[in-house]
Symmetry: C2
Subunit: 211 residues, 2 copies
């Protein structure tokens, strides 16, 4: 499988690219800055400039000859809430539109646990607003074969390899999120589904293949 | 007609309340702060506390015995983009959900000219992102009898009384926007429609009644 990773240079993105390559999948790393290309090409990935400030028509030109698109970009905690709106919400939606324009069906979105439930947006509310509306757009305004992955609080711990599905609290290592995403890509039963995921006891591929 | 105005104490809201009362409509002014109540009660409006930080279930309790809801709240230019997400986008959507929960069908949303066309978001982009996704939600995720009014650049000029519909550039006085909203409320032909509006030559009610 050949996968385009939007936000390849992000924290989850880097882990995802490395794990996809290790597994034998092909990767196009979508990068914001050409200086990031060597990092990925040294690992054996292709790279493609992909600027979320562009319009969907432009973005679509980058999405050629891939089987699936993963959106793991995020504006991160260091930028303002304008970027939350422009990257986490509108950048995600522009990428969905671009994927449709490029004729690709499979789209995997990294969202956040409880994005659908406002009563649980206790902190970083703007981030949840952005995720909530990006999720809604993907489900209701596109015809993509989507999966929405909603990890709990992200950590930089080593991956544990086990998860629990649809628990409303919990943490998860970014390394495990990357493995979940790969498992999702390789399990078509996950199409048109969304699920929360956090650290647990069930081996990742077993949990994902039973969704 | 009895109208609940969300954002009654805003710039358009105040004009809208006054013009509705002058026309003989009944008004419930949705206010954020009980100190704002005298301003409206002196004019003959009812008031109701309506805090956009609340959940839809709470908001719905305020929306009783009215025929229509107008959302003219806005976080304004002085607050951060977190408020753009929380008020202009999620606050608007929570109000739609509350309106549905309250069993009211008619909902009029003040949006912005070109909110549907990203290529025209030349300035204040986060505001347009918020408006765009609030508009989409209203159209595609609710069963409300909506109208989406998309004024051009807002001014504090005296109202001119004339407009042009669906031009992609232009300005309009807030006083005229208020009159457009009233005309929309009294013209059921506007249900399930959205339109841009700016200053022009056609008398407001004539333009609106022909939508």
């Amino acid at each position: 499988m050949k996968v385009f990773v939007i936000g390849a240079h992000g924290q989850i993105g880097k882990l995802l690219v490395a794990q996809l390559l290790a597994r034998g999948d092909e990767v196009v790393a979508g990068i914001r800055d050409s200086k990031q290309s060597a990092f990925f090409e040294d690992q054996g990935a292709e790279t493609q400039l992909y600027d979320l400030n562009e319009q969907p028509e432009e973005l679509a030109k980058s999405l050629t000859n891939v089987d699936a698109v993963v959106f793991s970009a995020g504006s991160g905690g260091k930028t303002g809430d304008d970027q939350t709106l422009l990257i986490d919400l509108d950048g995600a939606v522009k990428s969905m539109e671009a994927t449709e324009k490029a004729g690709i069906k499979r789209f995997v979105l990294v969202s956040a646990m409880n994005a659908e439930d406002r009563t649980r947006w206790t902190a970083i509310k703007p981030y949840y607003v952005a995720k909530h509306y990006a999720d809604l757009y993907l489900k209701d305004e596109t015809s993509l074969d989507y999966t929405i992955v909603k990890p709990g609080a992200l950590t930089n711990d080593a991956g544990k390899g086990g998860v629990v599905i649809d628990q409303q609290t919990g943490k998860i290592a970014r390394e495990d999120v990357a493995e979940v995403l790969i498992s999702v890509l390789h399990n078509p039963n996950t199409i048109k589904k969304e699920f929360a995921v956090s650290t647990g006891e069930t081996p990742i591929n077993e949990a994902v293949s039973q969704l």
